[in-house]
Amino acid sequence: MTDFARLLQALAGRHVDFIIVGGFAGTIHGSATPTRDLDIVYSRDSRNIERLVEALAPFSPYLRGAPPGLPFRWDVGTILNGLNLTLRTDLGAVDLLGEIAGGGDYRALLPHCDRVTLFGCDCFCLKLEKLIEVKKAAGRIRDLLAAAELGALLEERRKSS
């Protein structure tokens, strides 16, 4: 089971600059669709990548779906050479995204975030309106289904406020 609380505490504890996106951001906003992974957009600043490496190192990050024994080093160079990494860790699945379709990178997304406190951590979470936009931009069937649910959620939220 993904331990979202400990993952967030690990990242925030090392002062990693990240934004919660994807299905978990939907959960934070009130989506009823379960998700098993934590999707974050991280700042590609080299100091931030160092903090990200330190934050997840204790939890044995490894490429999700890759066969065991593949030469994989969890270090700054690996992240700098990649952009989006899908990982499994001892705390559950984590997707590290350098940028996302329809939204761009950390800096571009930051103005479209809410601040939310979860398990004692101050985090940035993509606003519901922007989350719908990026789901539409992703364009896969499951993203359209998610966009539909999030759109309904936005309507319900507006009715109740």
């Binding site: 978990f24 009823a32 379960p34 539409k136 359209l144 759109g151 319900e156 939220r157």
Partner: protein, 53 residues
Amino acid sequence: MDAIIEFLGSEVDRTLLRENLELTPEQRVLELMALLGAAEEFRRAGETLAGTR
């Protein structure tokens, strides 16, 4: 695409969304983790049952 999303949105069970909107963000995450934990237990139980056949 918007027409498709609008149609799909008409099929969404809004009662669950309204219930979630009554919760805090942290409560929503705790509910998700409880759900995932239960799913994991069901999976293990299924494996145990399959092993006894």
